[in-house]
């Protein structure tokens, strides 16, 4: 079962159009809810005025003053209000102020435009440098949402003695997830006051995050809050933390109106107000000896965290750990900061900080190779981590890691050296076209950073049903990545049963345990491993109680389950995360095993640039990765191809344009994601190296493909165009023109 590619469990419903996404659910008497937002980046809310021509008495209106529990969204730091109250500070331009609901969806839209906010505006901080300069203090005393230092050896004495010291600065822009289904949620509150029973159905990655947020918002105990995950039209991290906010809004409107309330964002609102990938700035300083061995690395890694901490501390953490990248270095200082700005808080997005710091390092290695007069492939090869080496956090590589072999496979599949030689000639020809090929080598830590998995202590289970089949009990959600399918494969595989005998339970907090959030490339490896244990536990329990004898067949197993359920009433077995024995982490010093293991990749991108129009076309793409055992090769390839498509978009086209902290290209026509005509065929190669911590040897896969494309593309551009200032993504045609003019104008 592990290594096979059965069709996805919910695939048939998806092609029939019968899957129920949140907006497809119609509850009788439901109202439509909308959110009135601040529109100014910073100020004090003085008053709310309700304009004429709207029958306000027919509306349900919720302000901060209506909140029954705590007006703070439960997160890493509980600093973000659900709604800003009168007299309170507005800290970004899309901040929710007021909620409206009405049965007539047209009227509620009209009413949205009739509310006027009176705000005393304050000077705002809109970018990283202004925040660092403390032009205004907008968060704490120093505008820092989080600061992390990672230290290894002592770079101090190295700088003066090293043969080469090379510095560089790299920037990455915000990126929009652009899941096809905008955020959508339905809230229903039955009963009043302490008796209230709160239910939400929604498009959300992390049911128990939303569960915690609603408990805190309403001041209710666990059992009075229920969260159900509907079919989800994509997420990519964009529905990790944000649904805690809009679920709160829908539930508040329902609490006040006594009716179910649907809050479905249109695309413009979703783009403007929901999370993005954190913009970043990374300054690197590296020292090499005369032979190109890396002696010291200093990284100053900064994320723009927006107005509230939300997930920035943990995004920063992953970015900081990955700043050391795949290279052996005895002396390292990483200084990472997430700074506050008066912009909507960025959040989780596939890669979670790692794409930013890895982009910097993989561009920097290319710059260093040029300065050292070495081939960039050779420079990487001389410095790759190997078994026994230690990473920046002191983590020892215990696997038989062969990054040289991984890179060689990518070189071979992409015909990298042949193409470099050919392009060196063809790029001398007249005409506007220039071709280049470039690569990147990178890794992605599996699961939560540091002690995150220990804190989560996730639980998942397997249930036997009356018909003898099995059901997976986990709060992990399906967002298209294939969790339903992979979990069933893992359970079926652990028990030697056919795939069709296992299905997944509806993700409903009343029914499934907290297997943790569906994030961090952790579902297959972390939750899958727990499920493997739970499945074996269920079998042992059947054997011990005399329902089952080994060896068994699918039929005898089914019969045993049937009998056990009939006799016992229910048959469930749960497993829980256990920290692997040789893993240690210190949250204070940032020393130890940041992750139980890593997935590794080497990507090669081939581009052609038209110097008449500065358009870049990706002509070929090779993706070689080592992700442990591949549970479902077709789904896994789909993850890699989709991740690379997003990575190409981030690298070349996808730009969030802002004015006064607000996104102003918040339409699909103006935020440019790739169409089918913009992408090449992608060659996906898996090198399998089973890892003991994952189910059947599997490691994480979902985020890795986001890390490699951007630096590979810009390295390819450098190959095509020579040494330009290729220090930023997205490298849009406009930016590329500026870079080319810098060279031609001297």
């Amino acid at each position: 079962m592990i290594g096979a590619s059965p069709s996805r469990k919910e695939g048939r419903a998806k092609v029939l159009g019968t899957s129920t996404y949140t907006d497809d659910k119609f509850l009788p008497g439901a109202l439509h809810g909308v959110t009135i937002r601040s529109q100014v980046p910073r100020g004090i809310l003085k008053a709310i005025h309700f304009g004429e021509g709207i029958p306000w008495a027919d509306f349900t209106i919720v302000t901060a003053a209506d909140i029954p529990g705590t007006n703070r969204v439960a997160s890493v730091v509980d600093d973000q209000p659900f709604l800003v109250g009168i007299g309170d500070e507005i800290t970004h331009p899309e901040q929710p102020i007021l909620l409206l609901a009405h049965a007539d969806r047209h009227l509620v839209e009209k009413a949205r435009g009739a509310v006027r906010l009176e705000v005393e505006e304050l000077p705002a901080i809109l970018d990283i440098q202004s925040s660092l300069n403390l032009q205004q203090v907008i968060y704490g005393t120093d505008n820092l949402l989080k600061e992390i230092r990672i230290s290894k050896g002592d770079p101090g004495p190295v700088w003066a003695q090293a043969a080469h010291v090379i510095e560089g600065e790299y920037q990455t822009g915000a990126q929009e997830h652009m899941y096809l289904e905008p955020n959508a949620i339905i809230g229903q509150v039955e009963g009043k006051g302490p008796e209230a029973q709160v239910t939400v159905w929604g498009s959300l990655q992390c049911p128990y995050y939303v569960h915690s947020a609603l408990k805190q918002l309403f001041g209710l105990p666990d059992e009075q809050v229920r969260v159900v995950a509907m079919e989800m039209g994509g997420a990519f991290g964009g529905k990790e933390d944000y649904p805690s906010v809009n679920a709160g809004h829908a539930a508040l409107l329902s609490w006040k109106s006594g009716r179910p309330v649907k809050v479905v964002y249109d695309r413009e609102e979703d783009l403007a107000c929901t999370t993005k990938r954190h913009p970043s700035r990374t300054r690197l300083r590296t020292a090499f000896d005369a032979d190109g061995h890396l002696l010291a690395l200093e990284a100053d890694f900064i994320l723009d965290g927006g107005a509230y901490a939300t997930l920035s501390p943990v995004v920063l953490s992953r970015g900081a750990v990955h700043a050391g990248s795949v290279y052996r270095c005895p002396n390292v200082r990483i200084h990472a900061r997430a700074v506050a700005t008066n912009t909507p808080p960025p959040g989780a997005f596939r890669g979670f900080g790692a794409p930013q710091s890895l982009f910097a390092m993989e561009r920097h290695m290319e710059v260093c190779a040029r300065r050292l007069g070495l081939d960039a492939v050779e420079l990487r090869r001389r410095n790759f981590l190997r078994m026994g080496d230690t990473m920046a956090t002191g983590q020892v590589i215990r696997e038989d890691l062969d990054l040289g072999g991984l890179m060689d496979r990518a070189l071979q599949e992409s015909r990298y050296q042949d193409k470099r030689a050919a392009f060196a000639l063809t790029n001398q020809e007249a005409g506007p076209l220039r071709r280049g090929i470039g690569l990147s080598v990178f890794m992605h830590g599996c699961g939560f950073t540091g002690s995150g998995e220990s804190h989560l202590a996730s639980v998942a289970g397997v249930e036997g049903l009356a018909d003898g089949s099995l059901s997976v009990l986990a709060a992990s959600t399906e967002m298209g990545q294939g969790k339903n399918t992979v979990f069933c494969q893992i359970v079926a595989g652990a028990l030697g049963l056919p795939y069709d005998m296992v299905d997944v339970a509806v993700v409903d907090t009343d029914r499934v345990p907290n297997s943790g959030p569906t994030v961090a490339s952790r579902s297959t490896m972390m939750v899958g491993r727990i499920l493997e244990d739970a499945a074996i536990g269920l079998k042992l329990s059947l054997v011990q109680q005399g329902f089952l004898k080994e060896p068994y067949t699918a039929e005898t197993f089914r019969e045993a389950v049937r009998k056990a359920v009939a006799r016992l009433g229910s048959l469930k077995c749960y497993g829980q995360y256990h920290r692997p024995p040789n893993i240690a982490w210190d949250d204070v010093t940032y020393q130890g095993d940041a992750y139980p293991t890593y997935s590794w990749g080497c990507y090669a991108a081939e581009v052609v640039v038209d110097l008449d129009t500065y358009e870049v076309k990706v002509e070929d793409f090779v993706a070689v990765q080592e992700v442990g055992r591949v549970v479902n090769p077709i789904l896994a390839a789909g993850q890699v191809e989709g991740g690379i498509a997003q990575g190409i978009g981030w690298g070349l086209w996808e730009e969030v344009t802002t004015a006064q902290g607000r996104m102003i290209n918040n339409q699909m026509t103006n935020y440019i994601i790739p169409t089918s005509a913009d992408l090449p065929r992608i060659k996906v190669v898996f090198l399998e190296n089973a890892h003991p911590a994952g189910p059947g040897g599997a490691k994480g896969i979902g985020e890795l493909p986001m890390d490699g494309p951007a630096p590979a593309l810009l390295n390819a551009l450098e190959n095509a165009l020579g040494a330009l200032r290729l220090d930023e993504v997205p490298m849009t045609p406009e930016r590329l023109l500026v870079r080319c003019e810098e060279v031609s104008h001297g």
């Binding site: 008449d612 129009t613 076309k617 086209w653 023109l737």
Partner: protein, 288 residues
């Protein structure tokens, strides 16, 4: 969906005369539309001021592509898909086929119309540069009768047209090129498909005895209106293909265009790229 539906009204006229009568009776009240591919986008976003709509889509009088001895005549309701599918258009006006193919994607091309594209008056529209390059002429109808306007005089300013409140664009006529012809179309968009133009250039030239006898260049997205590049044309017309003054034409182009910064591209980018694309076009022209 932010448009306020209850405020909206829509009329479906029985025929063209009916439509014209309504426009004349209540001037400025009814907004004519056909495929809805521009109008509905603005309506959905809640940014449409108009609330009263006149649905032209079923008016048979405005449909179809007709071939005359010297011209092709396009009904205003001709869709991009009809343009793509018409053999005579491929034969005589290949740029227009490319324009149609470059507009939105299939679902837009099936609904969007040539008349709508012109009257919507977006400077970034993709058929106007080709229409300018081919010397199109518009036929406008009203209860007062029929009036012809050269297309390159139709756009008076940003979203301002030589079109009275009681007039509709009925059709568009283009003379079939004769003799040795050169056609060029290039769209530089935000991506490879379903993109808005950052720069669009269409050109048509007639060559006589190795000399550029006629040349029209139409530009999109570099001025408040779809724009003829008359100065650049003048630099080339009358010159032999063997010695086209490309640099002079590129310099002259500065007098033709007035690009701006917007969320899709910078003015500087548009300027440089328009000059480059012009250069590319002229080199192709020179190379025959």
């Amino acid at each position: 969906m932010r448009g306020y539906l209850p405020d909206c009204d829509i009329r479906v006229p029985a025929d063209l005369a009916d439509a014209l009568a309504l426009l004349a009776a209540e001037p400025g009240v009814w907004t004519p539309f056909a495929g809805g591919t521009d109008l509905m986008v603005v309506y959905n976003a809640g940014r449409l001021k108009a609330t009263h709509f006149l649905d032209l889509s079923r008016l048979a009088e405005l449909r179809g592509i007709r071939e005359e001895a010297t011209h092709l005549v396009f009904g205003a309701l001709t869709t991009y898909t009809e343009i793509r599918d018409c053999r005579a258009v491929h034969q005589h006006f290949p740029n227009l086929v490319k324009s149609a193919r470059a507009t939105g994607a299939l679902a837009i091309q099936n609904r969007g119309t040539l008349g709508g594209n012109i009257v919507n008056a977006s400077p970034a529209a993709d058929t106007p540069p080709s229409l300018l390059a081919y010397g199109a002429e518009l036929e406008l109808v009203s209860p007062r009768g029929l009036r012809r306007v050269a297309y390159d005089c139709f756009h008076l300013g940003y979203k301002r047209l030589d079109l009275a409140a009681d007039e509709l664009v009925a059709s568009l006529r283009m003379p079939k090129p004769t003799g040795r012809s050169f056609h060029y179309f290039r769209k530089v968009g935000t991506r490879q498909a379903q993109a808005i133009s950052k720069v669009c250039l269409a050109a048509h030239a007639r060559i006589e005895a190795g000399v550029v006898a006629e040349l029209r260049i139409g530009l999109g997205s570099v001025a408040p209106v779809p724009q003829r590049a008359r100065h650049a044309e003048a630099a080339i017309i009358g010159k032999p293909l063997s010695a086209l003054p490309i640099a002079a034409a590129q310099a002259a182009l500065l007098d033709d265009i007035s690009p701006i910064d917007d969320i899709r591209a910078s003015a500087h980018f548009r300027l440089v790229v328009t000059q480059n694309v012009l250069g590319h076009m002229l080199r192709e022209l020179a190379n025959g």
